[in-house]
């Protein structure tokens, strides 16, 4: 009886596997197309949907694949400069934002002080201000501050997003016991020492998640650098690859390899952080 039950269970799961696999294939096809195109010549991109067919291993003519697109991308078009800019912008923004948001979140979660309610409602109010409302006046502000065409003009406005403050407060309210902080104070630990050695380790998953959120957001930001930066030397990949399309629009292989270069680092970082990222992402919605 128990055997048939297990078998029945398996049988019931079979259509689930089929559905999931089909959905998985649909999800992966654009990636596969992208990766294949990046390694093909333009003629082969039009001739074959995926890998060039031939009589090599698995019926694929591997010899027709080429690294030329990447070579041109880095050597002739200097996309390495944009890659460096993207890494710098995204990593710096992620670290600074995570640091500043966790500080503010800690203050709101674990300190009682006059004005805390006011600050908390400011945070909640800031959550609903749409970014596009701030585009025009933000541009004027950066102009007034002389920050147009500089990295600072992109990093500073995103130093402490209200969303991050909110997430860290939510995480710390439960994860950091007040007694632990009090006893550390009794032991004579300084406030910053408490924050670094006690509070931060306790919200480690949230740190991983928020790093990923801000890294991803900055890396994929297009409208910001498009408006603020004017010097091609400082363009991140999002802007640089799109401009590549203007000048080399007919060169699909080049565009595809550029797109691949742009999304591969993010996928790598995600693999490193995926557990924490997904947990952190949902904590705001599920708990809040």
């Amino acid at each position: 009886m128990s055997l048939t039950n297990a078998q029945r269970q398996k049988l019931l799961l079979f259509p689930v596997y089929v559905a999931l696999t089909a959905a998985g294939i649909f999800t992966l096809i654009p990636f596969a197309w992208l990766v294949c195109a990046a390694f093909k010549t333009n003629a082969d991109i039009f001739a074959f949907n995926f890998l060039p067919l031939g009589d090599g291993f698995l019926g694929v003519d591997w010899g027709r694949l080429t690294l030329l697109n990447f070579f041109r991308l880095f050597r002739e078009l200097g996309i390495g400069v944009a890659l460096t800019n993207s890494i710098f912008l995204a990593a710096t923004s992620a670290l600074l934002a995570t640091f500043c948001c966790s500080l503010a979140g800690y203050a709101l979660a674990k300190f009682r002080f006059a004005g805390r309610g006011l600050v908390m409602s400011l945070v909640l109010a800031a959550l609903v201000v749409p970014g596009s409302l701030l585009l025009a006046p933000g541009y004027k502000l950066l102009y007034d501050l002389g920050l147009l065409n500089s990295f600072a003009g992109l990093i500073l406005p995103g130093l402490t997003p209200a969303f991050g403050v909110f997430l860290f407060r939510q995480a710390m309210v439960n994860a950091v016991p007040a007694t632990l902080i009090e006893s550390a104070r009794i032991d004579g630990a300084g406030e910053f020492r408490i924050y670094f050695t006690i509070v931060l380790p306790l919200v480690r998953p949230m740190i991983g998640a928020y790093l990923m959120i801000t890294f991803l957001g900055t890396w994929n930001n297009f409208i910001g650098p498009q408006i603020v930066l004017q010097d091609p030397q400082s363009f991140p990949l999002s802007v640089a690859i799109n401009q590549l399309r203007g000048l080399y629009g007919t060169d699909y292989g080049l565009i595809m390899s550029g797109t691949l270069v742009s999304i591969a680092p993010v996928l790598a970082l995600f693999l490193l952080l995926q557990k924490e990222f997904i947990a952190g992402l949902t904590s705001g919605a599920v708990k809040g």
Binding site: A23, F31, S132, L135, A136, P137, R185, I255, A285, V286
Partner: protein, 309 residues
């Protein structure tokens, strides 16, 4: 609250000596970066945008006061309403197509005894890591007539399918909604999956023993449990859809033929940063903010009513 006690309570001298109150300046130091950036990069631009919305500008330098003219022109501009219509269509597509797919995937992944859950979740989630810019680049080639992946494959399987099928010329919104489905279905699935984890298993088993059908169990046990997350996800995808810009902008290289891919934020961008009228752009921004604010308000109201009942 501990300060007066330490001054006048001789009964507990030991505790008072050892207990160090949190210094009043500490939270303010910790909050300083937030308060500073909040004031400079949020409050001040918001105040500015009210002023700007009543001006016509040519870049930040040349400005002229026009009062409410921006708003009255905006509300009478058929192009703006076209942008509203397109954006609303996209939002509807997101909510009514993408979210059910997300929920479906989550329900499938949540089946007890399923193996390979992590790898499936990873695959479905992966597209949402790709920025809208890059999705736009990728799909502009995927949807290309005659040479794009979609048309060549459909034409291979169904020779009657027109290989010139004009996704990016005529069927812009379906193309955008499909691209967004690929991009976001896995992202929203993660939220539903987390919520489904909160559905008590005993309850499901008990219902199954009572002979409750799958739909009945979903309707009466699963749905109430995931409703708060559900409304949150609906709100998030509504707010995201309303701010749609990069995807059509890159996919169509602008608003597209007959402005079929024009969205509210693209309308704002074109006016503010191409023709240089930051004032008009601010007016558009305020209208958008009001719409988004009312959606957020509606969600809160709905959730509150649910909790009360």
């Amino acid at each position: 609250m501990s300060a007066p006690a330490s001054a006048s309570a001789p009964a507990a001298p030991l505790a008072v000596r050892r207990y160090r109150a949190e210094p009043a300046w500490v939270p303010w130091v910790f909050l300083a970066p937030f308060l500073l950036t909040f004031g400079v990069f949020l409050i001040w631009p918001l105040v500015q945008s009210v002023v700007l919305a009543c001006q016509q500008t040519f870049g930040p330098k040349s400005t002229a006061w026009v009062g409410f003219a921006n708003f009255s022109f905006l509300l009478h501009d058929p192009l703006f309403w076209k942008a509203v219509r397109n954006t609303a269509l996209f939002a509807a597509g997101s909510v009514f197509l993408q979210l059910p797919v997300s929920l479906g995937l989550a329900l499938l992944l949540n089946r007890p005894g399923l193996r390979g859950r992590t790898i499936f979740r990873l695959i479905f989630f992966a597209p949402s890591l790709v920025g809208l810019v890059f999705v736009g680049l990728l799909f502009s080639l995927i949807f290309a007539p005659r040479t794009g992946l979609v048309n060549t494959v459909l034409n291979d399987f169904f020779p009657a399918f027109d290989p010139e099928f004009p996704w990016l010329q005529v069927y812009v919104m379906p193309a955008l909604i499909l691209a967004a489905l690929w991009l976001y279905a896995g992202f929203n699935m993660v939220y539903f999956l987390a919520a489904l984890q909160g559905v008590p298993e005993e309850l499901m088993e008990a219902a199954a023993l009572d002979g409750a059908g799958a739909w009945h169990r979903f309707r009466h046990i699963v749905l109430p449990e995931i409703l708060p997350v559900g409304t949150f996800v609906v709100l998030m995808s509504l707010l995201g859809s309303l701010q749609l810009f990069e995807l059509p902008y890159i996919l169509l290289n602008g608003p597209g033929a007959d402005n079929r891919g024009l969205t509210i934020v693209m309308y704002l961008y074109d006016n503010g940063f191409v023709t240089g009228d930051l004032g008009y752009a601010s007016a558009v921004g305020w209208v958008l903010a009001l719409v988004m604010g009312s959606f957020a308000f509606a969600q809160r109201w709905f959730n509150k009513r649910q909790e009360e009942s």
